[in-house]
């Protein structure tokens, strides 16, 4: 194989692809969509929840238990100060606590309380059942149109209920401790080195999200490189330029150049997203002492190389066989689904990362790359250790499959690209594969 020619082809394929409007559009729009879908909508939800939390509460109380007959009907609720993970706020004084005025109105029965809610005289109806002490049953009625309701919305009410249930039975200090008893709890677990350490939820979450994101990006880079390859091969076949090219280069050189160039375009896409993501979240990650382990990066790279080799070879085969891009895209759609299929089994990975199913699909070459990344992310949460032999077997199977599909793909590429306007059927494909 003539390496300089391979590099010439790779350079052309890369530059042609990254200069396309569609590439630039994908590069910019995809993170923008994620940003708006993730950050903006979350921010809106949080803002809504905070506004809801801080707005004055006028509550109709129907106390069938009689336990709150002497409870005060107005008080200021002070929400606890949540720890701030934003490093930009580190060292700055905590913001002044906010007070939520809560006004309660007693109603003898639920019906009149609900009528008052309908009329807009109160915002909430709290019904304390007659057997509350034994059953703990409470009912809250609100005219809330939000899809998701945050449990912190009820804190002023639960705070009033708890405080006044204990009122007169013990001193105020004990009441406060009872109300916030979980606040001072430090939860120790053994870390990966076997030492007792405070379990850091934020770090655990980041430890899960990071490999999850890497798994997603890995799947994206494999499939986007493969899709560019499919598109390139189909367009080349449709433009009937191949025969002219094959006078100067071998099919293998052409195929290798395309794989390098278009795989590079896929990697560029993902690398820009990763860098943009890392740049924007570096502060937060370093604040909570989360770093990406080198082993994970190395494994990610290996899974990318072999996964891309496998999918790229299959995409080349499809592109060579299909008579046009539309047909090729239809066939390749199933591969895209297969590559992302492990995400559907996230629950299995999280709950039982070393189960037979999780192990099997991380050994199965078409799903191996994405599955293993997700298993690693799940093990970060559960503390499960993936046996090294499984990683080695998974990588070996993927590499061998990649080489085999590459060899078959080269044969299909060599002969399939010359079949104009006709998609061969299975027996014809088998005949092509049997050609010397």
């Amino acid at each position: 194989m003539n390496l300089p020619k391979v590099l010439i082809i790779a350079r052309r394929e890369y530059l042609t692809t990254v200069r396309r409007k569609a590439f630039v559009f994908t590069l910019l729009i995809t993170p923008a969509i994620f940003f708006f879908a993730g950050v903006v909508s979350t921010k809106l939800q949080i803002n809504q929840a905070v506004a809801k939390l801080h707005e004055a509460r006028i509550v109709a109380v129907v106390d069938s238990s009689g336990l709150y007959a002497n409870a005060p009907l107005a008080f200021d609720y002070t929400p606890p100060v949540e720890p701030n993970l934003d490093p930009r706020q580190a060292g700055k004084p905590a913001p002044a606590p906010t007070h939520v005025p809560v006004i309660l109105r007693r109603y003898p029965e639920q019906k009149t309380a609900l009528d008052s809610l309908e009329a807009g005289n109160v915002k909430t109806v709290l019904v304390v059942s007659s057997d509350f002490l034994s059953s703990g049953r409470l009912r809250v009625y609100e005219k809330d149109t939000r899809a998701f309701t945050n449990s912190t919305d009820y804190r002023p009410l639960t705070n009033w209920l708890s405080r006044n249930l204990l009122s007169g039975l013990t001193d105020s200090m004990r009441v406060e401790r009872t109300l916030w008893i979980g606040r001072g709890l430090d939860y120790y677990t053994k870390d990966r080195e076997g030492h007792w350490a405070i379990k850091d939820d934020a770090k655990e979450l980041a430890g899960f999200l990071l490999p999850f994101a890497l798994g997603f990006l890995l799947a994206m880079s494999i499939i986007s490189g493969g899709q560019y390859l499919l598109q390139g091969v189909s367009e080349e076949k449709e433009s009937r330029i191949l025969e002219s090219l094959l006078c100067s280069v071998t099919p293998e050189e052409l195929m290798a150049g395309k794989m390098f160039g278009l795989g590079g375009a896929g990697l560029t896409l993902v690398a820009v997203w990763i860098l943009a993501g890392a740049f924007s979240s570096a502060g937060v990650l370093s604040f909570i002492h989360v770093s990406v382990p080198a082993s994970l990066l190395v494994l990610g790279l290996l899974y990318f190389v072999f996964g891309y080799l496998f999918y790229a070879s299959v995409m080349i085969s499809i592109g060579s066989m299909a008579s046009n891009l539309r047909e090729a895209t239809q066939f390749s759609g199933y591969l895209t689904i297969l590559n992302f299929a492990p995400f559907w089994a996230m629950v299995v990975f999280i709950n039982t990362p070393n189960s037979t199913f999780a192990t099997a699909i991380s050994l199965f070459p078409p799903t191996a790359a994405t599955s293993m990344m997700l298993r690693m992310s799940a093990s970060a949460v559960s503390g499960a250790i993936i046996p090294p032999w499984q990683i080695a077997t998974s990588l070996t199977l993927l590499a061998v499959s990649g080489v085999v599909t590459l060899m078959l793909g080269a044969k299909l590429f060599r002969l399939g690209m010359l079949l104009y306007g006709k998609t061969p059927n299975l027996p014809e494909i088998m005949r092509i594969l049997r050609q010397p």
Binding site: S239, R240, E243, S244, C247, S248, V249, L415, L418
Partner: protein, 317 residues
């Protein structure tokens, strides 16, 4: 220069190229002829090493075309295309680089070729913006860049107006004088007569005609002559018929008659003979005759035809 020896290709049990052997000399323009489906494209694909033969050898300059050191060859297929969404210069220079030119040389040679074909003002335009004829010329440029030793052109005149046909013919003549070997596949027999030194015709995968173009035509002549003379000739011995035709006389000789004897008899009549030239059939008529009569296709034989079975005239074996 190009040596094809006993080449055979079989697809699905069907022999599409059967024991084809021929040579093309350096600096020669050689025609590859045959009806549709004769196996020409398969033969060309084997020469360019796009498909491998099931038997026989193909060498260029003494080296196998399938070897690690591929000869500098270019192929302009009949079904051809270009990268559409790139500037003309980039599309052409890419071919140059793939043929081993440095990036700078590829651009320099691209400019020369674009000037030669009248496309110099289009270098920065996208290929898609070119007319069909211009794209055809650009495709020719992509074949010519890198100064290939062997240039294979399949129907290169299709889509070109008469002026550009003339440009292409001039280019081919120049390349030939520089030592480029040209293998020309076309159905335009007049172009073969004008441009080509020798020709090979294949039919259903078999060689059916091979030799110098002029010799092939002469060999297929029907022993007829055109006589231009002052006066009216009388019939002489050995003449089958004598017919006036557009100021000439068409003289059909009997099979055993010798042209020199007939001419002497005519001169002996006191006729002022200004010309007595054999009527040579156009290549197109020979093509039709050979295909329709199935010359060289010995279906009863168990093995492939040998060169002795063929209508081989004056060609290298």
């Amino acid at each position: 220069m190009l040596q094809v020896r006993s080449v055979r290709k079989i697809y699905d049990g069907r022999t599409v190229v059967n024991d084809v052997t021929f040579d093309v000399a350096a600096g020669e323009i050689f025609a590859l002829l045959g009806p549709n489906g004769a196996g020409k494209t398969t033969l060309i694909r084997m020469i360019t090493d796009i498909v491998r033969p099931d038997g026989g050898t193909i060498a260029f300059g003494g080296k196998s075309v399938a070897g690690p050191q591929r000869p500098r060859m270019a192929y302009l297929p009949e079904e051809r295309g270009l990268y559409k969404k790139v500037p003309v210069m980039d599309a052409l220079a890419y071919f140059g680089e793939l043929k081993g030119l440095s990036a700078a040389d590829a651009r320099r040679e691209s400019i020369e070729l674009l000037e030669e074909f009248g496309l110099a003002s289009w270098t920065k335009k996208q290929v898609a913006a070119l007319s069909k004829g211009m794209q055809q010329k650009l495709q020719l440029c992509s074949a010519l860049i890198g100064k290939p030793q062997l240039l294979i052109l399949d129907e290169p005149f299709t889509g070109l107006d008469p002026i550009n046909v003339q440009v292409l013919e001039d280019v081919l003549r120049r390349r030939r004088s520089e030592g480029t070997t040209v293998l020309l596949s076309t159905h335009q027999m007049n172009k073969v007569e004008e441009q080509c030194d020798r020709a090979l015709m294949i039919n259903r995968g078999h060689m059916v005609l091979y030799g110098a173009v002029g010799e092939i035509r002469r060999q297929h002549a029907a022993n007829e002559f055109l006589l231009t003379a002052d006066g009216t000739p009388r019939n002489v011995a050995g003449v089958k018929s004598l017919v006036a035709e557009n100021g000439h006389w068409r003289v059909a000789l009997e099979k055993a008659a010798h042209p020199a004897s007939v001419l002497k008899s005519l001169l002996d009549q006191g006729l002022a003979v200004r010309a007595f030239v054999p009527v040579v059939p156009p290549l197109e008529d020979i093509f039709v005759q050979v295909v329709q009569t199935g010359v060289g296709l010995d279906q009863g034989k168990s093995g492939p035809p040998t060169l002795d079975d063929l209508d081989v005239v004056g060609g290298a074996r």
